[in-house]
């Protein structure tokens, strides 16, 4: 599951400025549920902060439009950065950003989901290939985050959270800038630092009770927006940074 979009080779062609020195930065996504590691189909259920019990069978999401900020305020925008992270595929949880101009980076911003332009751009490859089963065909656009599982508290015993939609009033595109906690990431030709994220699945369910049938979400609409607001509010945190 190499997530980078193939079009990036086109993107490089108009970069006619003299070759700048570049390095690599890895983003590592560690999925957790509160204080526990996420484990698909785990025997013992997890418990939400509201007390509902649940198991997880699927957890996938898009990370896109990654921007890195330097201490002097200038920004590096990673071209064609679309990544599909799947809990079930270990190496999809390591996002390798290559050709990053060397420098001291103090901030990161990314979209959880896919920008509106790519949602309507037609056939896509790589992470955005509709064969990845993260594309709605009946209301075309990408599923930004897909969480499926079971809960005894849910009326149908099943949990289906397919969050997407990019049109007002139910725009679920969220951009986040998790804090680096005062750290600086040094990208060098001979240094490939790693930013290690905690992605806390419990944050999805803030204010949600599974007994409420309308809490399940599988279309663009108000419940998708509520989940998106939840995951934008601190689901991604930087746990530590390896300088390497």
């Amino acid at each position: 599951m190499c997530a980078t979009v193939l079009l990036s080779s086109c993107g490089d062609k108009d970069n006619s400025s003299p070759a700048t020195e570049t390095g690599t930065l890895d983003l590592e996504m560690e999925h957790i549920v509160g204080t526990q590691a996420l484990e698909l189909n785990r025997a013992t259920p997890y418990t939400t902060t509201a007390g509902d019990q649940f198991k997880v069978t699927t957890f996938n999401y898009y990370i896109s439009n990654i921007k890195l900020k330097k201490a002097d305020g200038t920004e590096y925008v990673q071209p064609d950065s679309y990544y599909l992270v799947k809990e079930s595929i270990a190496n999809s949880k390591r996002l390798t950003l290559d050709k990053i101009p060397v420098g001291d980076y103090t901030g990161i911003t990314f979209t959880i989901g896919v920008d509106s332009a790519r949602n309507v751009a037609g056939a896509q490859m790589g992470a955005l290939d509709p064969s990845n089963n993260m594309f709605w065909d009946w209301n075309s656009g990408y599923i930004f985050l897909k969480m499926e599982g079971t809960s005894d508290q849910a009326p149908s015993k099943s949990l289906i959270f397919h969050v997407g939609g990019f049109k007002k009033p139910y725009n679920a595109i969220r951009t986040v800038s998790p804090s680096l906690n005062g750290k600086t990431v040094l990208v060098r030709t001979d240094h490939s630092p790693e930013m290690h994220f905690h992605v806390d699945l419990l944050k999805l369910f803030t204010g949600i009770r599974f007994a409420d049938a309308s809490s399940n979400s599988h279309s663009a609409g108000p419940s998708a927006v509520r989940i998106a607001d939840n995951y934008a509010a601190g689901m991604f945190t930087v746990d530590h940074i390896h300088a390497n």
């Binding site: 079009l7 064969s131 009946w138």
Partner: protein
Amino acid sequence: MKRTLTASLAFWGLAGLLVASCQSEAEVAPSEAVPGSVLPANFPAPAYALDQNPPSREAFELGRILFYEPMLSRDGSVSCGSCHQQFVAFANADHRVSHGVAGRLGTRNAPALQNLRWKRDFFWDGGPKNLETLPLAPLTNPLEMDETLENVLHKLNNITEYQQRFFKLYGRQPIDSYQFLRTLAQFTAGLTSANSRYDQYVRHEPGGELTAAELRGRAVLAQKCAACHSTDLFTDDSFHNNGLDRQFATDSGRAHVTAVRADVGLFKVPSLRNVAQTAPYMHDGRFQTLAQVLEHYDHGVVESPTLDPILRRSDGQLGIPLTRQEKSDLVAFFNTLTDQEFLKDKRLSERP
């Protein structure tokens, strides 16, 4: 993102030049042109620009083969062409709603496929938003082709002729969704209907004579229908509640996609091109004749919360009043929108 777009445009620039040369060739030898590769002079700018997927004859022909390929359905019984028949402008003759695999009935009337290059969204509810990704909906709908994209690609990749044809176009294998969707779009984007007697009239071409009744019909249309059926595409591609029902429990229309209450009961304005050929009418195919459609607008419109304001008159009556003469003139004009060349173009048919 901007950088990507610029790069893509630069990438296609070369291909764009090739298209241009195709077009000039087309003027010399029309039979060699890729159908739909010349934009009609009386049409607005297309949504799916020529340089987004530059027409090529080989890709178009492979797209046509895919369009008529029943293997795209789960049980091999239904192709795109099953519900979209050329002789009725790629609508479904006689069928009120679409017929899928195993005799399953869909919920809506299969719309005519014509001038899709000019559409910004598709279907009666505007769900699909790009011509290239549109086929994923009928392909996976259990009431239509009931197949998966994965399995379609698997089947295509098992057939040597498809492998070879796709490899010739894209120079890599296996056949992937990008190749499949882009190739199918070569055909669907080429379904341009712009050579009706009306077109010849507005473009001052030979054969473009309209009778007095037809001209009166055109004037009635401009006065009473053009709020929705506008431009030479005869639709503004907007969504309206045209007063068919008091409630929309079985099909909420546009609201199915937007989840917005104000969109309940709104459906896409269809084009009037080839309208005399594309019965039955409305999103659920409830009317068999154009006369019934006009009767509906004249006195059949019913009240509902989202009824379009255009259909509310100052005297409290609903609908668009039409005299017997106006209705007769409108139907006369509708007939001028029939494009025999399009309906019979061998290059668009299952067996050219």
